[in-house]
């Protein structure tokens, strides 16, 4: 619950005036609704008494009030929806910026579990999107409207205020919120159940061959159904709670009306109010019904919101702090020039699960402009060495320097290190946006040169060139094209040290050749480290460093016999046949 309050607090720091204006307009809508009904009742009671000749009654003011309230209600409602939605959208945009910063600043350990985080993120954000529109605004408006009603009633008689407000607030606001908040454990269980359904159907699909051959396909399918059963069982409990909330909300209004009727009748009998005012008192109590009605759907929403807030609030807090920090220190990075040396001193990287270290005391010195291939079986630690040099993985022990300065964060000192990862990440936007990721001020000429060097001219030429737009995740390009675009992006950033992780893995031979040719050209004059198990990729290098079980086991330069021996052990189907 405190996390939810933190999220709500955050909402109000983003767009305080707009959100408040939304609540005020909601109260005005309720007030106009009350006014419409009360003025109508007042008119009828007054005219009835006047018709009997009991009192003199001015019909002009109540009928003008009816017209006014009828229009005011519509106008207030329309404005309220506009203002509240606009404010909410502003908050949603800001919330996403915070969450992004929060995740970006989270420790690597959290990021590695990010698949899980991402799978839930969108559902969590959706749940929080509704926090204002479905929780804060209706509860706030209900409280305010009821409070105002209570003040007016109290001016006539404190007993009246109590008779109406106690059932209204107790049954209509407190009970729904309390019951709904009690449902958060079920909300969590249901959420986990739906997670399980998702996960198990993925397991069923990915492992269908194994399940089928094992004769356990039926079992795998029924495990999905079993998770669905659990969800249905939790939902049955939630529905009972939902019913209680709905019933409380509905009864709140009815009890308040009876309270107003009975207390009002006494006031009338005592001569404290006139007949028309008595009718007004009774009809004003109808506001309770309308004010608490939106809270009746809270049972299912609130538990979900609390759960989501528990996960999002920490990210949001970190992200907001990061936002302040970056606003203070937006120093332009000094761009380094010339190739740089790399030095690893007894670097050890240990995972926190008790397994053997990924890197075990690796020391390696690479001179400026040298071209090195890290070779070895999969799982040997090649990619980890690249990640350490690039600053993506902090060493548990030891020291990493690039250009004589320690590597403390991603990209190395002043962004001197560029890494072409095995998995290529591209983003929505046009090609120019993609290329400028590392250097937003790069001139078009630099982009064009990088595109040419990466061999992308024949790809982008027939499309829109730099204006060619990529879809979500950079969709719209083939595997080889994506890789070359990522290479061009790296070249625009112009790093002194280029790290390549299996740059042609998963590409067909023709594409691989094209990528390798582009790489060979484009990395001239830079320090180059490539992790590979392919002979074609290792041929880029003048020095082979063999890695096994997190240690360096061999190191040879071109021309030495050991170099050829290492080269020979690498995979190359065509050469295997020739041998």
């Amino acid at each position: 619950m405190s996390a939810l309050l933190a999220v709500i607090g955050r909402f109000f720091t983003y767009a305080p005036l707009r959100l408040l204006a939304g609540v005020v307009l909601l109260v005005l809508t309720l007030a106009a609704g009350l006014g419409l009904l009360a003025a109508s009742g007042y008119l009828i009671a007054g005219t009835a008494l006047a018709g009997l000749g009991l009192i003199a009654f001015d019909t002009f003011r109540p009928s003008a009030a009816i017209r006014f309230f009828a229009l005011a209600r519509t106008g207030a409602r329309y404005l309220e929806r506009l203002v509240s939605h606009d404010a909410t959208f502003r908050v949603l945009a800001a919330l996403r910026v915070d969450v992004f910063r929060g995740i970006a600043a989270a420790p690597a350990r959290v990021q590695r579990r990010s698949a899980d985080l991402l799978a839930r993120l969108s559902g969590d954000l959706d749940a929080l999107d509704a926090v204002h529109l479905r929780f804060v605004a209706p509860v706030g408006a209900a409280f305010t409207a009821l409070l105002a009603l209570g003040v007016v009633y109290a001016l006539l008689s404190p007993v009246l205020a109590v008779a109406v407000l106690v059932p209204a607030v107790g049954l209509g606001v407190v009970a729904p919120v309390w019951l709904a908040a009690r449902g958060r454990r079920d909300a969590r269980r249901r959420h986990h159940g739906i997670d399980a359904i998702r996960r198990r159907i993925v397991d069923l699909d990915r492992g269908r061959t194994e399940w089928a051959v094992a004769g356990r396909l039926g079992e795998a399918a029924s495990s999905v159904t079993a998770a669905a059963d659990r969800v249905a069982a939790v939902e049955a409990r939630q529905h009972r709670r939902d019913m209680a909330v709905r019933a409380a909300g509905l009864l709140a209004g009815q009890v308040a009306i009876v309270g107003a009727l009975l207390v009002g009748a006494d006031l009338l009998a005592a001569g404290a109010v006139s007949g028309p005012v008595f009718v007004l008192i009774v009809l004003a109590a109808f506001t309770v019904l309308e004010a608490v009605q939106p809270l009746r759907a809270l049972a299912l929403d609130l538990g979900r919101m609390i759960l989501a807030a528990g996960r999002i609030a920490p990210l949001m807090r970190v992200g907001a702090a990061e936002g302040h920090r970056s606003a203070e220190s937006l120093a332009p990075s000094i761009h380094p020039a010339g190739p740089m040396a790399i030095r690893l001193d007894a670097v050890t990287v240990r995972a926190d699960d008790g397994r053997p270290p990924l890197l075990d005391g690796v020391s390696l010195a690479i001179v400026p402009g040298e071209r090195v291939a890290l070779v070895g079986p999969s799982g040997a630690g090649k990619s980890t060495i690249l990640a350490v040099i690039a600053g993506l993985v902090p060493p548990t022990d030891g020291r990493v320097d690039v250009g004589g300065r320690p590597v403390v964060g991603p990209g190395g000192p002043d962004g001197a290190v560029g890494l072409l990862t095995q998995r290529i990440d591209l983003f929505q936007g046009d090609v120019a946006d993609v290329l400028r990721l590392g250097r937003p001020d790069a001139p078009d000429a630099a982009l064009g040169a990088a595109v040419t060097a990466a061999g992308l001219d024949p790809v982008l030429g027939p499309r829109d060139g730099l204006a060619f737009t990529l879809g979500e995740g950079g969709s719209g390009l083939s595997g080889g094209e994506r890789r070359r675009l990522a290479l061009a992006r790296l070249l625009v950033a112009d790093p002194s040290v280029v790290l390549l992780d299996e740059p042609t893995d998963g590409l067909d031979a023709v594409t691989a050749d094209a990528v390798l040719a582009a790489l060979s050209n484009a990395t001239a004059g830079r320090t180059l480290v490539v992790a590979t198990h392919r002979r074609t990729e290792a041929a880029l290098a003048d020095r082979l460093v063999s890695v096994r079980d997190g240690r360096i086991v061999a190191d040879a330069r071109r021309g030495e016999p050991a170099f050829d021996a290492l080269m020979h052990r690498l995979t190359d189907p065509a050469a295997d046949l020739a041998a």
Binding site: L37, S40, L43, L49, P62, S63, F69, T74, Y78, L82, H85, R90, L92, A93, R96, V97, A104, L118, L121, S122, L125, D129, I197, R198, R199, I201, T209, A212, A214, R216, L217, G218, T225, A228, A232, H239, D242, R246, L250, Q254, L261, L268, F278, V279, R355, P377, S378, L392, G409, P410, G411, P440, E472, G479, D505, D508, A509, H533, P573, L577
Partner: protein, 599 residues
């Protein structure tokens, strides 16, 4: 849209009736209340003490109304939960029957989103939309009739203020469409923008672009907000129209009653002239004449969401796809009795095997071969020749459209498929891993309720698969937990895990699909060695591009691509030079020749 709307599950009739009943109880409540108020005003009742009976009656009716309303919601919600469960179960059963060779089957992420999240949109549709739609067709008519009983002119005002329902619903429909258009605005959603960037977060960090990207997310969000608001400003107008009609309706009724009570108007009254009680009664009914329409308008977009769900369901789940051979489409686990006296290595005979996808594409055309007991055989051929499909057909993982497959004494058919599969060990490229211990992952082929596996057999399998050194370095050995999707295992280790799993399963026929593709030389060596160990005393059939592996088999069976046009290039395809037996004629449909022995 109309096609799928017929198939939408609807709210139970009883829930609709109860919900309309709950709304209509307001009529006697309003009557009691109006009478009580009128009595107090006219002096017929004096103080609260005289109003206790109507107050109690009003409260009893309120309780009944609350009861009916919650019961209605309960019925609808229970029905919705059952519908969601039904869809989840049938999707699971359907997905379980899809063949693994079908490359056109939808991405599992989409199926997971469908059964996990999108199915949820059925609930508001059933619980809110259905009853609201029923109420809007009943409650206003009844209230109008009751009002007309007292004052036909007031009823006329209401009916005129309530423009024809078709007109309003089309207005509401426009709002719903506009809203969904707003949500699907071309640049996507607030969350979509965020997820796009988060998916490549490490790249953004590498390029030092975290701050700039955060700014870009904010800017994109601002653009989405402005465009969405532009549409919503229009969309909200149509519900404002309903509000205006409803407010004007109530106001006009009140003024009519007032003037008629004053005697300024002497028409429009049906029976006796209006008095305070009947006037108040009519006034109290007026807002509830419009309430169902407002509820319906609020629930209208539930229908669009439910339709989107059903369309998605139909697109993903309904199309005919290649299916597994199964005797029983119901997802029930057959009682598997595993005798661990391993049966002898079987003969495998394939005769005239043809596999056709439901769209008509030929995946395998007229393939015939025979494999003797204990023989090791490589299926060799260009990408698209159907190596993997033949292998899958052998395990009954796809139904042949023609031809026969015999394993041992059994001819493959839906009824024998399970028995045949129980004699098969499968080694795939990306083995399934469960988040469970390594030991549990190795014994995946055993039913979950079988006791712990023989540790010696596991150790032996691990050593034979070349995983010995890897397991020795694990902190808890075989008990070490393995993450989902093989977290903590490299690609090579996963592949060796698959080999070890086949060794543990100890089945007489081993089928391996590209077991050495994309591996480094050392790991590929270990996998080849493990495969040969697995082949001892068993029949082994392996689909491969790896010339070294093919040479280690007793025999190579060459498959040619089934028909022109040539299949699209496979990125992993070896070049023609990689043929292990260049001497052989590349004849269609099949040529076999020995691969082993002196060259």
């Amino acid at each position: 849209m109309s096609r799928s709307s017929r198939k939408l599950p609807s709210a139970p009739r009883a829930a609709c009736l109860l919900s309309a009943g709950a709304s209509l109880i307001w009529i006697p409540q309003a009557f009691v209340l109006a009478r009580a108020v009128a009595d107090a005003v006219s002096g017929a009742a004096f103080g609260a003490a005289d109003l206790l009976v109507p107050a109690a009656l009003f409260l009893v009716l309120a309780l009944v109304r609350t009861g009916l309303d919650t019961l209605s919601v309960r019925l609808a919600a229970t029905h919705a939960a059952a519908e969601k469960h039904r869809i989840r179960a049938t999707v699971a059963a359907t997905v379980a029957a899809w063949s693994p060779v079908d490359a056109t089957r939808p991405p599992v992420g989409e199926v997971a989103t469908l059964v996990g999240d999108q199915v949820e949109s059925l609930e508001p549709f059933i619980v809110r939309y259905g009853p609201a739609r029923f109420r809007v067709s009943v409650v206003p008519i009844v209230i109008a009739l009751v009002v007309a009983w007292y004052a036909w002119a007031a009823a006329l005002v209401l009916v005129l203020a309530f423009p024809f329902i078709p007109l309003l619903t089309s207005l509401i429909g426009m709002e719903a469409r506009d809203r969904s258009k707003a949500q699907l605005a071309e640049v996507g959603t607030f969350t979509g923008v965020l997820l796009d960037k988060l998916a490549g977060l490490s790249t953004i960090r590498l390029f030092g672009a975290v701050d700039r990207t955060a700014e870009a997310i904010g800017t994109a969000g601002d653009g989405i907000r402005r465009r969405t608001m532009g549409v919503l400003a229009l969309a909200f107008l149509s519900s404002a129209v309903i509000e205006v009609f409803s407010a004007i309706g109530v106001g006009l009724v009140a003024i009519f009653i007032g003037f008629s009570l004053l005697g300024w108007i002497d028409f429009g009254v049906t029976g006796a002239p209006l008095d305070l009680a009947s006037g108040l009664f009519v006034l109290l009914l007026a807002p509830d004449f419009f309430q169902p329409l407002r509820d319906f308008s609020a629930a209208y977009h539930d229908k669009a969401a439910a339709e989107a769900l059903m369309d998605r369901h139909d697109a993903l789940i309904a199309p005919a796809r290649p299916r597994l051979l199964r005797a029983d489409p119901a997802p029930a686990a057959p009682p598997v009795v595993l005798t661990h006296a391993a049966p002898a290595a079987p003969t495998v005979t394939v005769h005239g095997l043809t596999v056709t996808a439901p769209g008509g594409a030929v995946m395998v055309a007229d393939v015939s071969f025979e494999v003797s007991p204990g023989e090791t055989v490589a299926l060799w051929g260009p990408s698209g020749a159907g190596k993997s499909t033949v292998l899958a057909a052998l395990a009954g993982l796809v139904a042949p459209s023609a031809g026969t497959i015999t394993v041992g004494d059994d001819t493959l058919s839906p009824t024998t498929a399970d028995a045949i599969r129980r004699r098969v060990a499968w080694i795939g490229q990306t083995p399934l891993t469960l988040s469970a211990s390594l030991a549990r992952n190795l014994t995946l082929a055993e039913p979950a309720d079988r006791g712990p596996a023989d540790p010696c057999a596991l150790e032996r399998a691990i050593a034979d698969a070349g995983l010995g050194a890897f397991v020795a370095r694990l902190p808890r050995g075989l008990a070490t937990p393995i993450g989902e999707a093989g977290a903590g295992l490299s690609g090579g280790e996963l592949r060796r895990l698959a080999v070890a799993r086949a060794l543990v399963a100890d089945r007489p026929l081993v089928l391996a699909d590209e077991p050495t593709a994309d591996l480094d030389a050392d790991t590929a060596d270990a996998v080849r060695a493990g495969l040969l160990k697995a082949a001892a005393g068993r029949t082994l059939i392996v689909a491969t591009h790896d010339p070294l592996l093919a040479r280690q088999m007793d025999r190579v069976i060459r498959l040619a691509a089934p028909s022109a046009p040539p299949p699209p290039a496979d990125p992993a395809a070896p070049q023609p030079a990689a043929d292990p037996a260049p001497r052989a004629a590349a004849g269609r449909p099949v040529a076999t020749e020995p691969a082993k022995g002196p060259a």
